[in-house]
Structures are given as structure tokens and as C-alpha cells.
Assembly symmetry: C2
Homo-oligomer: 313 residues x 2
């Protein structure tokens, strides 16, 4: 199997054997925003040439924003609940000029009680892989990022999810706001004490403390009154925003749902901050595995019958 995790800013390609073990891995910055003229086929051909045979018998499966409107081909969104079987039944296929067939994983959608839709592309594959690798009994998964996802799983299928714009809001406030102008980053290392102060203020349940629009201003006033060093403003704001996401996420899930713990997908520095933040809130959490997306693509390819095909040919 050739497995492609093709997102907005990066493209990771994996060569995988018949048991799902990774033989080769190539990481590039050829995310869909970085591909000149949208010539995805050229990027695909160059990157995987050495891995394909003449008959193009090795199946290729891709997930992520490559299947979005801005990507190679717009794959549909399928409605929750959905697991590997439902996803495998809705693959789109691109027949390239060189004769390869690239199977695209669909995105997922969920519509809330107000009729407002939510979407994901790529995260569904990570979760299916995580479930496969860890045989996790977790009901709740958190995928930190620019647009963090909280996901609920039941009997191997994604039954609900929600997107939080935490990462983007944090980046905008750091780069462009009055709060960003207060920040001094000595050496860029996070200030754990300030991070936890931010988490604590985000966790205050008293409605008199307002919501996020009000609490954000505390990063300015605490600095103004010398209650927060300029070098700690960034970490404080990070704690405040991640803590607010956790408050919102737990409220979405409802009482007790996260009592069995939460799995944080990925093993980035950001994922570690989320594990710390969840633990600080009293929610037990587990960091995720590396390359879960590969296990997900392998599982979906198997459910779609693509792995049998390649043996038959």
C-alpha cells in the first residue's frame, strides 16, 4: 500500500507492507497550499515513482485536505455515525494519466441540534488508526491543532465531533493583537506556571467572570498591574485558550462522558500541552501514537478490499 497523508501544509507518503508495517516514509512541505498550479499529479508521480510498479498494482489511498474543494478532487463528506466500513464504502477514485488509481478517503460531517454542520478531513483516518493500534476503549478523542477536533466514538464508529478554532485564535492574538505586543519571549520556552494560571482562570465556573471575550483581556491587565511578567504572557494566553477549549469540549460532551479518560492524538509539543491541561482539569488523558494515520489508511484500504485486489493481480 502507498498511504498518503496529504494536508494543507504538508504531505507525508508511506510505503506499507501487507501487514501494515511502514517500509519507507517521505515527509515534504507539498501540502495543497504549496503545490504550484494545483498540479497534484506531478507531485504524486515524482514522490511515489520508486514505489510503484509498471502495472500500478500497488494500491494508493490518500486522506486529508487533498480531498477538499481546494485539493485534487472534492471527495464527499459522509454523515456520522461512520467507521472504517462506512468510510471504505465511499472512497473516490482518481485515475491518473500514468495509470495509477488514487483512492481518496471522504471527509465526515456532523450537524448539531441548531442545524449547523461541522466537518473534518483527515482526522477520521487518524482516529480509525488509533483505535486499530491501541484497541483503545476510549470514547473521547482530542486532536489538537489550528482547528482542534473533539470526537466521540462508540462501537468503533465516530458518532459526534466538534471543531474549535483555538489554535488559529491563539496564533492571531500572538501575532496581531494588543496582547501580542505585550509579549516578550526570552528564549521561547514555555512558562509552565503561567500556562497553569491561564488554565485555572479558564476553568472558573462563575459566570461573573464572563466568557472568553472577557477573560482574554486578563492577559493585558495582569501584565499592566505587574501580576504577570511580559515573558509569561504567551504561555498564560495559551493556557487560557486551551483551558477554554476544554471547558467548551466537556460541556459539549455532557456530564460523565469524559470520566473514562480522553485520548489525545499525536505526540507533538502541542499534544503534550493538552495532556497537561486535561490532567490539570482532572480529566485523565493518554498521549497518542505516532503515524496513526498510516494504520487508519491501511484499515480503510483493507475494508475497501484494496489489499486483496493487489494480491490477486
Amino acid at each position: 500500500l502507498i498511504a498518503l497523508d496529504w494536508g494543507t501544509t504538508s504531505l507525508r507518503a508511506y510505503r506499507v507492507d501487507g501487514q501494515g508495517a511502514i517500509l519507507d516514509k517521505i515527509s515534504t512541505h507539498n501540502g495543497i497550499l504549496n503545490v504550484a498550479d494545483g498540479d497534484f499529479e506531478r507531485v504524486f508521480n515524482e514522490l511515489t515513482a520508486a514505489w510503484r510498479d509498471r502495472r500500478n498494482a500497488v494500491p494508493v489511498v490518500a486522506c486529508g485536505m487533498i480531498g477538499s474543494r481546494q485539493g485534487w478532487y472534492e471527495a464527499p463528506y459522509i454523515a456520522c455515525p461512520a467507521g472504517a466500513t462506512e468510510i471504505a464504502g465511499q472512497l473516490s477514485v482518481i485515475n491518473t494519466h500514468s495509470g495509477a488509481r488514487v483512492w481518496l478517503v471522504p471527509g465526515l460531517s456532523f450537524t448539531d441540534a441548531s442545524g449547523v454542520p461541522d466537518v473534518m478531513r483527515g482526522e477520521e483516518t487518524q482516529i480509525i488508526g488509533e483505535l486499530q493500534i491501541t484497541q483503545s476503549a476510549s470514547q473521547v478523542f482530542v486532536l489538537p491543532g489550528t482547528h482542534s477536533k473533539w470526537v466521540r466514538v462508540g462501537q468503533g464508529r465516530i458518532t459526534w465531533f466538534a471543531t474549535f478554532m483555538s489554535g488559529e485564535v491563539f496564533a492571531l492574538l500572538c501575532r496581531h493583537s494588543i496582547l501580542g505586543r505585550l509579549m516578550q519571549d526570552d528564549d521561547g520556552s514555555p512558562d509552565s506556571h503561567a500556562f497553569r494560571r491561564g488554565l485555572d482562570y479558564a476553568a472558573v465556573a462563575d459566570p461573573g467572570s464572563g466568557g472568553l471575550l472577557k477573560r482574554l483581556f486578563s492577559a493585558r491587565t495582569l501584565a499592566l498591574f505587574d501580576k504577570l511578567p511580559a515573558t509569561a504572557v504567551r504561555s498564560y494566553l495559551s493556557g487560557l485558550i486551551i483551558g477554554s477549549e476544554i471547558s467548551e469540549g466537556l460541556a459539549c460532551l455532557g456530564a460523565g462522558v469524559a470520566d473514562g479518560g480522553v485520548s489525545v492524538i499525536g505526540n507533538s509539543e502541542l499534544a503534550r500541552l493538552y495532556v497537561e491541561a486535561l490532567d490539570h482539569r482532572g480529566v485523565s488523558s493518554r498521549p497518542g501514537t505516532t503515524d496513526a494515520v498510516v494504520a487508519g489508511l491501511f484499515r480503510i484500504a483493507g475494508a475497501a478490499g484494496l489489499l486483496e485486489d493487489s494480491h490477486v493481480r
Copy 2:
């Protein structure tokens, strides 16, 4: 009286007679961020030369960010509750080289139950003026802006206030976020229907709909599913953020406090949006008056005895 409303981006100077009537008004862009080398005295001298007499007997009172750390002189913050009397008792004075004395209005501070301070500079003077002009019985004032203020008044004194970063968050999202990239502004005119849809989604009380970090993403997904035209994304987001501020503000105040209605200070386009948003939420609101800040400065100058002084000299 020479009354100066000297903020971050603008400076408005007023010549006022002994009864508080405005005789002359000059508006400039000489806000504190736009004064070269921080030479505030030069700007002051040039702008008010024709209004001052040789003896410098005309009192000068200034409010706003001119009294901040980045301004001419850092005036203190005084703690709530505070009204005209308390403010008038804490004026700072700058003795200029030309012999004029410029009296600076202090800012106000309020510390919430979590020990987090909040601050204002300039808005306190607008509210004191508004109370003077309208003899308003309102308990609650809203001052829309980059950093909106909600203020509670009792017996002529400001007893509580809170700052919401709504205006700045909205501007950042429009200019720099993935939501901004979705926006098409046909002619820049607001879309009233989309504004109200944003207000409605912000007002949904169901915690399953999450808080602001989650709801922001709806501006993207509604557009993605063709449920919101690209030309309406900006107005929808405006409604969502103003509506979220109203939810937070009402929660801060507690049940029933706003039942007597809310006064919205100012008569800008933004103030009109807030009046519409509050009415849509079922909170009766009144738009404010023009130049309330002048009435506030006149009232404070009177309470400080500066107006009598000028007659005596």
C-alpha cells in the same frame, strides 16, 4: 473650559463655556500612537493656542489614553465604586513649559472575584457625561468598541465594569483568519439577515453547541455547505461575536439586572448594531448622546472646583 478627549488614535478638543455648552470643536488624528516622539506638549500647544489666554486661566481637563503609561503622564487607576466626586479628587496635573496646567482624569479599575483586574480610561468620563445629560436611571451601560465595556452604575457611581475584546477579535478574524478568506464584500453594506443569524446562534443556550471557539467555525462550515453566501460571512461573524459578548455581559450582570434596559453609549454605526442586537435579544436599549465625554469632563472639572477657580482669577 478646554476639554480634551485624547485617545489611542484620535484627539478631540472642545472649547466649552461656563454652562457646559460647546463653543468650538477640533477633531484630529493625533491619538497617542500618532504623536511623533511623544511630544504631546507641542500638539497641545498648537491645537489650543487660540483658546488659551496669556494668564492660562482657562482650565484644561483631559481624559483617555493620554493618561496611560504610553501617554503624556501616567495617571493612576482608582478603584470602583467611583463617580464624579471620587474621580475629581484624584486628578493629576501636568505643568507645561508655557505655563498651562493640564488636569488628567484617572482611569478606573475593578478586580473580580478571581483577583483579576480590569481597567478603563476615558469611558468613565463618557458615562459621567451621559448620566449628566440624560439624567438616565439606567443601571447598565454598554460602550461598544475595539475593547467593549459593560458598566454598572448605582447612585451616580460606577460600581462594576468588564472589558470584552470583541472588536479586536472580530477585526483579527476578518483580516487574518481562514474565515476572512471566505468573505466577499460586495459593496461592504451589512447583511441584516446574516447578522441576526449570527446573533441567534450566539444566543443558543444549549451547552452542546459549545462556546465561542466552537461556534466561530460555523462561519466556515455554513459557507462550505452553501448555507451562507460569501457576501454574508462578515455580517454573520459580526452577529456571532456581538451576540457572544451580550451573552457574556448578561451572565456577568446576573439575572434581572438588565431588565430595566441598557444604555448604549455613542451614536456610531457600531452602536446602532449593538442596539439592534440587544433588542433582538429582548433587552430594551437606548442609543446614547453625542459628545457625552464633554459633559463628563465639565462635570468632573466642576466637582474638582476648577470652574470656580477660573472665575476667581
